[in-house]
Each structure stands twice: as structure tokens, then as C-alpha cells.
């Protein structure tokens, strides 16, 4: 991919970091998440500048593009899609604060670009949900702005210090608010225990009359729709990049295993059916990779559809990779079934693919 050679150095550094630090811990964290360990890994990742990748240089970050972030997520995901998903949530929150600007945003961005060693500043992003009984709302009481309600399952929760919260107001307009993790009234609910992306503490977040005050309004009230849509699209693009990264690893593992496993009188890569499976994986990887990069290259490509395509393809690839490993593929220590579980969760991040596909057309009719 010649166009992206300018990122090759960063990507190589991140790839080496991921192989060294994330690869070693991924299977253990999949069994039992250890938030201290994850925070330590995050701090380590600062050495190669990952948390501040998107943050402008004047705020202390690397000022890289979203495409660069996506390419980095892609190589992180090769080692662990769950770890990559932590950074994706964080990048999207950063993007929101960068785009919105303002003093409070700036303060957070600086903290995130140069995090404290023992307690790194990690960000999360919350999108409105139609599925909660008590959706998040802004209410005014005695002249104060208060945030109340419960979010849908959100990533990064218990790790996060800063939440960029998009709220759907009663009139349908969108407002974005910055909420600090430790603020009274903010509590993280019980973890969802999803089948994959285990390091990411998905949970609902409850806001109980959280005082927000004017200075924490990231957007002016009711004017955040465009920002939210750009954040959502960015998230879709990132999820697609992660899906392709982890699926790429599933493919490599399967191809490697097929070259070694002897069955039916030969190494199984010589069986045309195995070649068909591997070839199909490669076909999907090629198209998926081109598609997600296109999202960031200012192409016209629909980010939601790209996420749907890439995550569906990733799951298919992972399922076949398990199959090629036979019984070994089903065992935790080989790390392929983990990829399959991770991909299953990636498919549902940011919304159901079935809905996104329909919405891509329905939206044009409104």
C-alpha cells in the first residue's frame, strides 16, 4: 500500500510493541481480566505514543491522522482485538474533544497525551441508545444542568477517566457533554460478560443527577448531531480496521497450521478444500482492507456498511480458521477460538449490522 508508506515507521513500532507486550498477555487476560495489568499496558503503550496518536501536537500528542490510528489499531488487533478496542473507544473520544475544542477539552487532551504513570487518563465515548428504559437525558433543576439515566453497554467504562457523552434530547437534538469518571453520581454497572473482547470492561454507566455545568458542554446544547455522526463513522471505521487485523491473524495462523498438519497422507494445505478456505479468507481480507482504508481516505464509502462488511467477513474467516485447526482450534491455548469470539462481538459494536444495512438506504428516503 504505497500511499501509506509514510506511516510505515509508526506501524512497525506499534507492531513490535503489540507483539512484545500485548501478545504475551492476551490469552491470560481473555481468561481473567486484570484492570491493573491493562492500565500498566496502557502506560507502556505511551512509550510508543499510542494513546496520544490522534491528539494534536500543540496539545502534546502526535497529531496523526485517523487513517494512521486505524492502521495502528489493525496491527494491535492482530495480537488482541480486545486491547485494540480499548484504544478505538479512546481515539473516538479524543476525536470528539479535538473537534469540539474548548478549555475543558484541551485540559483532558493534554492529560491523555501525557498520562500519569500509575493512573493513565483513558477516555470513553457514549452514544445515545433507543433501547434503555431510562435513557440518558439532560434535565434542568434549580438553574443547574443535571445528567441522568443509564447508557447502553459502553466500552472502556471502569478504566475511563473522561467520558464524551452524546445525549439525545427530548426534541431529538444531540448535545455532547464531558463527564469525569469520579464525579458524584457516575457509576459503572455490572459488567456484561460478553463472549469476546474480554479485556474491554463493557458495562452500562448510570448517571444520577450528575451536575454538569456550562463549562462541560462540549457542544452547544442541541448542536452536536454532526459531531456525533462523525464520531460514529470514525468508530465504524476503527471497528472495521480491528476486524481485519484480527482476521488477518486468524488467516496467518490457519495457513501456518495447514502447512504443518499432516492428515490424509500430506500436509493439509495440499488439500484443495483447505486451499479454497484459505483463498476465500484472503479474498475477504483484501477487499475488507481496501474498504476500511477508503473510509479514512476521504472516500464516499459508507462507514456503517464498511463495518458491517468487514466484521461479517472477519467472523467467517475466524470460524474457518478454527475449522482448519480441527480439535486444536477449539482449545483456548491455540488462540484461534478467541479470535472467533472477539469477531462475534465486533459484529455488534456500534449497532446491529442488519439495522445498519437497512438504515443506509432508509436514511436516504427521509
Amino acid at each position: 500500500m504505497a500511499v501509506h508508506e509514510k506511516y510505515s515507521e509508526i506501524i512497525d513500532v506499534c507492531r513490535r510493541f503489540a507483539a512484545r507486550e500485548i501478545g504475551a498477555a492476551a490469552l491470560a487476560y481473555d481468561l481473567e481480566t486484570d484492570s491493573q495489568g491493562v492500565k500498566a499496558l496502557w502506560t507502556k503503550s505511551c512509550e510508543v505514543g499510542i494513546p496520544g496518536l490522534l491528539i494534536p501536537e500543540e496539545s502534546g500528542g502526535a497529531g496523526q491522522s485517523a487513517l494512521c490510528c486505524a492502521l495502528v489499531l489493525n496491527v494491535l488487533a492482530a495480537e488482541c482485538a480486545g486491547m485494540a478496542s480499548l484504544f478505538a473507544d479512546h481515539f473516538v473520544a479524543c476525536h470528539t474533544l479535538i473537534r469540539a475544542g474548548g478549555k475543558e477539552s484541551e485540559r483532558c487532551l493534554q492529560a491523555m497525551a501525557n498520562p500519569a504513570i500509575d493512573d493513565p487518563a483513558i477516555a470513553a465515548v457514549v452514544f445515545p441508545s433507543e433501547e434503555e428504559e431510562d435513557p440518558v437525558r439532560i434535565v434542568e433543576s434549580e438553574g443547574k444542568l443535571l445528567l441522568s439515566g443509564r447508557t447502553a453497554l459502553t466500552g472502556n467504562t471502569s478504566l475511563a477517566q473522561h467520558y464524551a457523552v452524546f445525549v439525545k434530547e427530548r426534541d431529538g437534538k444531540i448535545t455532547c457533554i464531558l463527564v469525569e469518571g469520579g464525579t458524584p453520581g457516575v457509576s459503572v454497572g455490572e459488567g456484561a460478560n460478553l463472549p469476546g473482547l474480554k479485556v474491554n470492561p463493557f458495562a452500562p454507566v448510570t448517571f444520577k443527577e450528575v451536575e454538569i455545568g456550562d463549562r462541560f458542554l462540549v457542544t452547544e446544547r442541541g448542536s452536536g448531531r454532526e459531531l456525533m455522526e462523525s464520531a460514529q463513522n470514525l468508530f465504524f471505521g476503527f471497528v472495521a480496521a480491528i476486524a481485519m487485523g484480527t482476521a488477518q491473524r486468524a488467516y496467518e495462523k490457519a495457513a501456518g497450521y495447514a502447512r504443518e498438519r499432516y492428515q490424509f497422507g500430506t500436509t493439509i494445505i495440499n488439500h484443495p478444500e483447505i486451499q479454497r478456505m484459505l483463498g476465500t479468507m484472503r479474498m475477504k481480507l483484501g477487499v475488507g482492507r481496501a474498504a476500511y482504508m477508503d473510509v479514512f481516505d476521504g472516500g464516499e464509502r459508507d462507514a456503517g456498511l464498511t463495518k458491517a462488511f468487514c466484521t461479517d467477513a472477519a467472523l467467517e474467516i475466524a470460524v474457518d480458521a478454527v475449522q482448519i485447526h480441527g480439535g486444536y482450534g477449539y482449545m483456548h491455548e491455540y488462540g484461534v477460538e478467541k479470535i472467533m469470539r472477539d469477531c462475534k462481538v465486533l459484529q455488534l459494536l456500534g449497532g446491529r449490522n442488519g439495522s445498519l444495512i437497512i438504515e443506509s438506504i432508509a436514511r436516504e428516503l427521509r
Binding site: L153, P195, G327, E337, R341
Partner: protein, 482 residues
């Protein structure tokens, strides 16, 4: 709209065998007792699934994630009290006397709640299936007696069927493949018996088994012509259990590595002589592949039923999830697939009852004996001794071999493979698609659907990978290339 009107499957205790496959209604008119027995299997299975398995399934899954050796003995005992552990043994001898159809329905009901737990309870019947292969009456009667006695004492008597080796999975199930197999086990003829060395892997119940039925070659360089089937008590010196695997799903069912170090097996435990081991394997596969298909069908059903329940209650804005058009299309599509595969599974089971080994229980000599002789005597040492007489064994063997010829076995491997691939692909597709519908929250452990997905994957791998099954299907239907 009242979606709850459509309560069925796991969310209802009303039996629906004849309603779901109406052709069985016709059969019921012709052979009422046959269908009634299957209906009773459905009632028993569904009740056990709803009352005993469902309340504990998620906790057991969690416990087994922490410790792959965790086993819920309490639940197993409940199943044992209901004789589910001896479901295939004739009623006259102390079992439930389920036919293949009955057992299929029972599997489907129980796996709709949890396939791993079902494996702990029902897959033990492998012991009997293994013994039925040669139909050596002495062995069959002894095994039935041991199983029934253990059941009555409330004690486990576990069987494992060990064919897979670290270096050979597909290769131990297929003639063309076995010719080039690189064995990890070896049996050596010694005075009075055999000495066995090597490792078997991924053996269901291997860590709990009292007996292992294993295929092992005498000549490593010529496995096809030297592979034999042994019955190995796990109390034998030199036998040990290696690691118990940490798996993606079906965690309640233990999968273990078995290690043989100079294990001595007496001559009488040679079930199949060298060169006949693969035939033994194929005969077991000729029935079990169909059962795996039906069990996987149960997994698919369980996933879909949970999804319907969830989607009927999940509000999105001002409507329910199940009211979304694409969700309805998807659910309809899955119901269509489940109906089709279920008909195929029952068709397979009825064929096994009619043309395969289960027909033996319906054959005149066996039926008469079961009717005339009291249970006390059927289970006695005396009858077992008579059954072990070579005259009786060879007579019984003849009857059985006429019924289950080599051609029958290969035909059923083919039919079973078709059902196995259909059922297991269904389980994988449905359990995955269901998660696409319910979304991130619905995918949480507590709703049980993601577990169906994790459980489903292995069904495409074991009992002959779906690739191996497709190869069998092609070769038996179209013929082998030269």
C-alpha cells in the same frame, strides 16, 4: 400483537413431536407404541431440560471456565435417578428402552438447554453402542448389567470412546486416510494379551471414564491392516489422564488427554482383532453422526427459542425488537431451516430403528426373550454366562451381521454424515445469526445465547469434521476416484 401466543420449545412444557413433524402422526396411527415412546422421551427430555438444566446451566459454564475439571454431580445424579444414563437399555432390563427416534428426541430436547451437560448424561450410551457392534452376547449382557447396576446404586459408570490421537483425527476415521496415518499409539502382542503405549487426545469423558474403548494399531507402519479395538479399564496400571482441556464451549463436558504407559490388556478385552478396528469405528460413526446432527439441531433450537423470547421483550424506542421487519425475516428463515433439518434427523433415526442396529431390539428372538424372561434373570450372571457361550455368540453374531452388513454401515455413515453436516452447520449459523439480532446486550452471558454459539462450533469438528463427512458423503454416494 401477542407474541407470547407462540410459546413453544424450551418456553413450553407441552409436547409437540407430532405437531412439528406431522408425518409422524400418520406413523402413530400405524405403530402407536413406537411414536408414543418417542413422545414420552420428548416429555421427559423437555421437563429435565426446563427444570433441571436451565436453572443451572450458566453457573456450571462459569464454574467450568474457572476449572475445566468441575463437574456437577448433583445434576448428574438427578439424571441418573431418571434413568437417562441408561436410556437406550430395554425397559425389561432396567433402562428406558428408548428407540433411536426416542433417543434423538431426547438429545434434541436436552441439548436445547445445554449440549455439554447432555454429553455428560447421554453420551455414556456410547458404551452400549460400542458393545453392540460385534453383538457378542456375553459382552453386551455384561455391559448392560454393569450399567443398570451402577445406575441403581446411583454410581457413575462412564465410558469413553478414544480414537483421536495427537497426530491423527481425520486419519483414524477414514480408510484412505488411515493407510497413511502416523499413529501416536501402539499395541504389542504379549503373552495372554497386549501391551499398550501412546497418547489419545480430546477424549470426551476421558477424565471420568471407568472404561475406554480405544482403537490402536499393532503395526505402526501399517495401521489400516493392524488397527484393533480394545476395552481398557482405566484402573489398569500404566493408564493416566493428562490434561483436561480448556475449551471454547461445551465446557460442562470434559475433554481429556489419555496416556498409556505399558498398559497390559488381557486377550478377552480385544473387542476387534487387528485389521477390524476401523470397521468398528465406522459402525459407531454410522449411528453417532446422526445423533450429533440431532444434538446440534437442539443447540440451534435452543438459541432461536431464547432469541424469540428476548426479542419479544426487548423494547427499541416504541416497538419491540421482534417487530422489526428484518428480524422477522431472519427468524422465519431459521424456523424454516430448523424444520427441514429436524425432519431429516427424525427420518435418520427412524431408519436406524428400522434397518440398523436398534432394529435388533425389535427382532423376534430378542423381543421374545425380553418379554418372557423376568428382569432378575435377564440381569443375572447365569444369563450372561449363557450369552458368553461360543454357540450363542456366533448365532447372535450371525443374526446381527445379517441385519447390519458392511453395506448397511457404509450406507448409514453416508446418511449420518448428511444429517451431521446439516445439523451442525445449522447450529453454527443459527446461533451466530441469533446474536446478530439480539445485539450487544443480548450477547451477555446471562441470556445464554452466546453460549450456544460457543457450544455449536465444535459440532462441526468432532465425530468426523464436516470436511471428512462431506468426503464420506461423496464417496458413498458417487464412488471413489481410482
Amino acid at each position: 400483537m401477542d407474541h407470547l401466543a407462540a410459546k413453544y420449545g424450551l418456553s413450553s412444557d407441552a409436547p409437540d413431536l407430532v405437531t412439528t413433524v406431522p408425518a409422524l402422526g400418520k406413523l402413530k396411527k400405524i405403530r402407536p407404541s413406537y411414536i408414543k415412546r418417542a413422545e414420552s422421551a420428548q416429555v421427559t427430555g423437555r421437563r429435565f431440560a426446563r427444570e433441571e438444566i436451565l436453572p443451572r446451566v450458566l453457573e456450571i459454564d462459569k464454574e467450568c471456565t474457572r476449572d475445566p475439571r468441575y463437574f456437577d454431580w448433583d445434576l448428574w445424579r438427578k439424571a441418573n435417578d431418571e434413568k437417562l444414563t441408561v436410556a437406550l437399555i430395554p425397559r425389561e432390563m432396567g433402562g428406558l428402552g428408548y428407540t433411536a427416534l426416542g433417543a434423538t428426541v431426547l438429545c434434541e430436547e436436552m441439548t436445547s438447554a445445554c449440549m455439554g451437560i447432555t454429553a455428560n448424561i447421554l453420551f455414556n450410551n456410547f458404551g452400549l453402542l460400542g458393545a453392540l457392534v460385534e453383538f457378542r452376547t456375553g459382552i453386551v449382557l455384561r455391559i448392560i448389567r454393569d450399567m443398570v447396576k451402577a445406575q441403581r446404586r446411583g454410581e457413575p459408570l462412564f465410558w469413553a470412546w478414544a480414537i483421536t490421537e495427537p497426530s491423527a483425527g481425520t486419519d483414524v476415521e477414514d480408510e484412505r486416510a488411515m493407510a497413511t496415518m502416523r499413529p501416536s499409539t501402539h499395541a504389542e502382542k504379549v503373552s495372554g494379551g497386549y501391551r499398550i503405549n501412546g497418547t489419545k487426545c480430546f477424549i470426551t469423558n476421558g477424565s471420568l471414564a471407568h472404561y475406554v474403548i480405544a482403537t490402536i494399531p499393532l503395526d505402526r507402519s501399517n495401521p489400516l491392516e493392524s488397527i484393533a479395538t480394545f476395552l481398557i479399564p482405566t484402573s489398569s496400571e500404566g493408564f493416566s489422564v493428562g490434561k483436561v482441556e480448556r475449551k471454547c464451549g461445551q465446557k460442562a463436558s470434559q475433554t481429556a488427554e489419555l496416556i498409556f504407559e505399558d498398559v497390559y490388556v488381557p486377550e478377552e478385552n480385544l473387542w476387534e482383532p487387528p485389521g477390524r478396528g476401523l470397521r468398528h469405528t465406522r459402525e459407531i460413526l454410522s449411528t453417532t453422526r446422526g445423533f450429533i446432527g440431532a444434538s446440534a439441531l437442539g443447540v440451534a433450537r435452543g438459541a432461536l427459542e431464547r432469541c424469540i423470547e428476548y426479542a419479544s421483550k426487548k423494547k427499541i424506542g416504541n416497538h419491540f425488537l421482534i417487530d422489526e421487519d428484518w428480524v422477522r425475516y431472519a427468524i422465519a428463515d431459521m424456523i424454516k431451516d430448523i424444520k427441514t433439518v429436524r425432519a431429516a434427523c427424525y427420518n435418520f433415526a427412524i431408519s436406524v430403528d428400522t434397518y440398523h442396529v436398534m432394529g435388533l431390539f425389535e427382532s423376534l428372538p430378542v423381543k421374545t426373550a425380553l418379554k418372557m424372561i423376568p428382569e432378575r434373570i435377564l440381569l443375572s450372571e447365569f444369563v450372561q454366562t449363557i450369552g458368553g457361550l461360543s454357540l450363542v455368540e456366533s448365532l447372535a453374531g450371525k443374526i446381527k451381521n445379517r441385519m447390519v452388513s458392511d453395506a448397511t454401515v457404509e450406507r448409514f455413515v453416508k446418511e449420518g454424515s448428511a444429517v451431521k453436516v446439516a445439523g451442525t452447520d445449522l447450529a453454527m449459523n443459527v446461533s451466530s445469526r441469533v446474536l446478530d439480532i439480539v445485539g450487544l446486550e443480548g450477547m451477555s452471558h446471562r441470556y445464554g445465547m452466546e453460549k450456544c454459539f460457543r457450544d455449536a462450533k465444535v459440532t462441526q469438528i468432532y465425530e468426523g469434521s464436516n470436511q471428512a463427512c462431506r468426503l464420506d458423503l461423496f464417496h458413498q454416494e458417487i464412488g471413489s476416484p481410482q
